[in-house]
Symmetry: D2
């Protein structure tokens, strides 16, 4: 699917880095290929010779154990290799993997599974970074053309799902694939609480804006208020005010904001301020995860095929899909957490400061990728991902 | 005691702001005075007229509810009013408070208690900010002269205190004074663990340095490693290498590092890297707080009178004093936390993102100020406070 | 020729902006097209409709009179329109120009001549910006492959050309095409002096490096020394030290530095420091211009066709070609200078502060573009152009 | 007089550095003392021992030849030594100088003369930096109280002084004291021109403001327009709009702008834009210097004694006093310029890039310090000096 996501992109589209947080589409394609070539083929297939040894320097992301690498903020300087060359490399690596699989040891097969999950993460990032790229172009090109949509019905007032309280278990139990940070499974104590049965909508968010939400410091964390002031924030990312209503830019271009859709592209600061304004709060990670047991992880609006994904009105209670949901929990290690061995262990543990956990899955998450125990994480000011808000409250 | 702390300072010493995080001593004195004048005298004593209405603009720290204020990073521009004028203002406000107390309502008396605790916090900050100020002067002046110290005996290997596991209660129970963020008291679940019976020493830290601790990315969080690289960090703050040994600058001037003392002025990033190097981890806030029940909060090396305070060798198991201790817990709200009403409610809640909790008390904390439930908090890169390290481990 | 220069570029190559000072190749192509479309076709050909009215916003460089425009530092965000679309637009505009010429008024014909000269400037910039772009890629791709070169003979010690002294005339006399800033022609007084008959060579520059030239503050202007320190400068731009000798990156890729070639890609600061080290000085603009009268402006190593241009050993006295030559004259208006009328008058006059004049022409200057009166100008720290050094001295 | 200038300052006032360009008053006092102690007493008086050898590090400004020094931007961190200690040191150095003079060699006496002129420069800087310091304090303290002034009569339309044309001589002829950059005296050619017989007034400047002068890019140099946009400039420095009229902050506090006074605290960019708006231009350095021969250098509003100096209405033609006057000439070396030998030769020559020459003298220039050949210089954006505007035009 990675290639399908890149399909609407020209070589130039795939080369641009819109900001240091985001990477060029070509870089994503090459990096995930490098991951397989390095950790599987180079390390486990005798005689395999890397396609171009200089590319490791270009496409290593942040694995200190793999040596020096190109500066993250300069990934947009790589017009060479071209998109076509990267796709050819990719095809060759895929072929070599397929040929090798029958003879691979379990450890190498585990790395392939890890590589696939790693690639799924980058598929989502490709979509969000493509959006960030096109948003920088004053022509506002659509990645994919989509039929104009009729305004949708506005969902009812959201309901509340009563949460479990007392001692519960969270974290992954070790069966099947999971990232190291999802475990170990452990007990903790929940207080009486409820969690909303749907995401906050754009209509509700416009209420927040119209009530002066972005101009009232009492609603904001101190860091959040400083962020609002410095960046002149007055709406979700990619929104722009037109004369009569709000527009939002997406993979389908510039479109009116439809009131029934989940609000998207908001930061933790905004999510937190909105919750305070609404007299509620964000859920904790454990509350969310505990509630998620009752839901189908593969249901909802998630990524099935490349295209102009976007949040869509939620017609029934659902925890997965549409938007990643900010929790009020910091991304920190679970009790007895140990990073995976070796270089691939640099994958999650070293990011455990300053970030918040997001749960669920978004419209850009490959269906099947997420789990109740899945821990996504971003800094509280970041909002170029498909990030939204689910409220919670104490009982 | 605030005035005693300022005693060794000239008007110029008290005016300098060494960095945006720290404030001039004069500003601390004026700000705490403003707190009493504003929230007690102005709001609760009819007919009281502020000494100079323009000073509110200068000495409000961050209370959005109290209106516009001088930019934090420009606090060092205030040569006027002079230290002497501020001290006179202070005396007058003190006098007015004493005169008013007999007729004050309980709400106002509560504000006085809050103001006193607020002032105690600023007494500690005055000491740390004075140190930061003098450290900027190439002459490295001592705030107070202290007799040279004989090297001290190095404490034994630290022992481990077994912690409680299962459901425990933490947080303040509401009896006596506490800051809003310390409550509500609530239950949570602890895993089996132990906590060190003393702080990490300078001798142990030199072992970390000598083992390449500051040059091995595998020991560091990603944000921490970036911080090390950008700032060229290779030792705790205020340390400098001399030909034969390490020196450290303190309120008593430039002195040799004595090996038995607790290491001080380290960031969360350093504390976390050291713990990883030592095969241990930092305690969680709840583990620390649960262990603290067995200790006397007013014992240990804390602030009794103004002077060249510094960490001293710990001869017996003690949780309070010498250094604030980084925990691996983010500073986030407790279940059902509600900020205090009114402007003073801007005191803690709005800082609940991106920071870590420190527990205990330092050699610069006025004795009696801290509690087991006390939640100090700083960003993970900050280290100009008296911050040290206590290890913990899983059982 | 602009299209030939772009011939080796992929769409992605042509989209990258390596730094705010430089522009993407595609942008250069589009900007020069916009210049013709706007100032000639739109303004002088009735009924002409701009190809895409939104493109003016993208491709206006700095003409305030033409309205808002895309931020200069974000020119690298424009993957759309593609290189192919820009080339098609260009062809259409060319066609429209050719069709229109027979009926154009003299004023419009003057604008075409201005547009052609403007385009020649951008042809040189395309080459320098392509070089800057490829230099950012760790793979160091060559724009054009060139046959390996045999090391060249080192020229003799440079000789000195005695300059005229007394009252001389400089500046353009108004016959034929010239930029507004080149006039009016006027008299000024020259002191007795001589000017070197060739450019400083790489071999001489290595002597400067080996003598500690980049480490001796006494050789540098204060701003230059600060620039050296902040940027860790220790050689001309694009040079890198290998084990045995110096290499330099050029449009022909990474090659050894040959000692007989003119040194290139040096800043004014470096040129000035070198001259001081050599016991000489840089020429003034008038000294240079006065000497240039004896030389053929169209001789020497200048641009004839697209390719891997580079400075080449100078075998005989020559003022034009190889490298633009820093003078010690600031770029300021000549007596009675008046900018051209209208928006095109924003072309030179508004840059008259903080920059130095360069004279001559470089290996990347379209032959025929330059004149003795030509005034090129850059800031003293800039060196991504083909900039070199000619010495002068007092007699 | 330096001490008299510092008289109204507290130790704290004298310690603050309001911005990197400006220095604390105490630093100025110490630096000029260091200059005498180092270059005269240390180098020419055998047996002299510097008062405190560590102070050289603190109070060396930029003399690379004298070794490492405190970072310029951190001069405001020096609360120690105190103002009193600096003044005592100063008295001792003065005493030692007086005692030594009878036995000093001519070279040392020349250094004393240089030191006195150097100190006069710093007296002016002390006044401008004090003003910058107090301007940072929201209380806007006056350095000296001054009697309120009656509005003054507005001068007539300025007249024009016809300038000499043809070959003239400029530069210092070497008799009496001068700075190295003022010579050698040399000939150059002037075009027919005239120069205004007084400075531009605040009333005329308000006309510029009211005509949209700060909002019209066509009036500005490109660098100037960027400076206006980035800094939100809309009036001279220290001006603020009140409801009914303009106020300006000065050493006498916040006062109404009186319309007859010369406008002050404007940058080169502003001076240049105003001149363009007025249909005139700035004079060249040579035009100014040539005209100055007819005027008494010691007349006009210059500094006689410490106090709240400010520009005053000019009632008759005068070239010196009130404000330094921007010329359109870059600060570059005169033909055959050689810096003075030794460390003191770092005084002027190394600043010869990027700056413009100002001529005349201001209300803060010690009377007798300036000359027709005097070359003051600042960057085009700087305006915290007493800088004003005199117009010129071609004939």
């Amino acid at each position: 699917m990675s290639c399908a996501i890149a399909a609407p992109l020209s070589d130039a589209d795939a080369t641009i880095q819109p900001m240091p947080d985001a990477s060029p589409a070509k870089w994503h394609l090459a990096h995930t290929t490098w991951f397989f070539e390095t950790f599987v083929l180079r390390d486990h297939v005798s005689g395999y010779r890397p396609h171009d040894p200089r590319w490791a320097y270009l496409f290593n992301s942040y694995y200190e154990g793999e040596g020096e690498r190109h500066a993250r903020a300069r990934r947009g300087m790589l017009s060479r290799p071209s998109l076509e060359e990267v796709l050819e490399w990719r095809a060759r690596v895929d072929e070599a993997l397929v040929a090798a699989i029958p003879r691979l040891q379990p450890a190498a097969l585990d790395l392939i599974e890890l590589g696939i999950n790693h690639e799924q993460q980058h598929q989502e990032l490709m979509l969000t970074d493509m959006l960030a790229t096109f948003a920088e172009n004053p022509l506002l090109p659509a990645a994919w053309n989509a039929a104009p949509r009729a305004p949708t019905a506005v969902p009812d007032q959201s309901g509340w799902i009563g949460g479990r309280s007392g001692v519960v278990e969270v974290g992954h139990d070790g069966e099947g694939f999971f990232f190291d940070c999802e475990g170990p499974r452990h007990e903790l104590l929940l207080q009486p609480h409820a969690i909303a049965d749907r995401l906050v909508t754009t209509g509700e968010w416009i209420g927040f804006i119209d009530d002066g939400g972005y101009r009232r410091p009492d609603l904001w964390l101190a860091d959040g208020w400083a962020w609002v002031q410095e960046n002149g924030v007055e709406a979700p990312l990619y929104w722009r005010r037109s004369e009569r209503h709000w527009l939002r830019f997406g993979l389908d271009g510039l479109m009116p904001v439809h009131l029934g859709e989940p609000v998207c592209h908001v930061s933790y600061y905004e999510a937190d301020a909105f919750a305070r304004w609404a007299g509620a709060r964000l859920p904790t990670e454990a509350e969310w995860e505990s509630a998620a047991g009752a839901f189908e992880t593969t249901a909802g609006n998630q990524l099935d095929c490349a295209g102009p994904v976007r949040p869509r009105p939620q017609r029934e209670a659902q925890l997965f899909g549409d938007c990643w949901q900010w929790t009020m929990s910091a991304f920190l290690p679970y009790p007895r957490f140990r990073p995976a061995e070796g270089t691939v262990g640099e994958y999650n543990g070293k990011f455990m400061s300053g970030q918040f956990v997001l749960k669920g899955a978004s419209c850009a998450t490959p269906r099947g990728h997420s789990r109740a125990s899945y821990r996504n994480f971003f800094y509280p000011h970041q909002r170029w991902q498909f990030t939204g808000v689910r409220l919670a409250r104490d009982l």
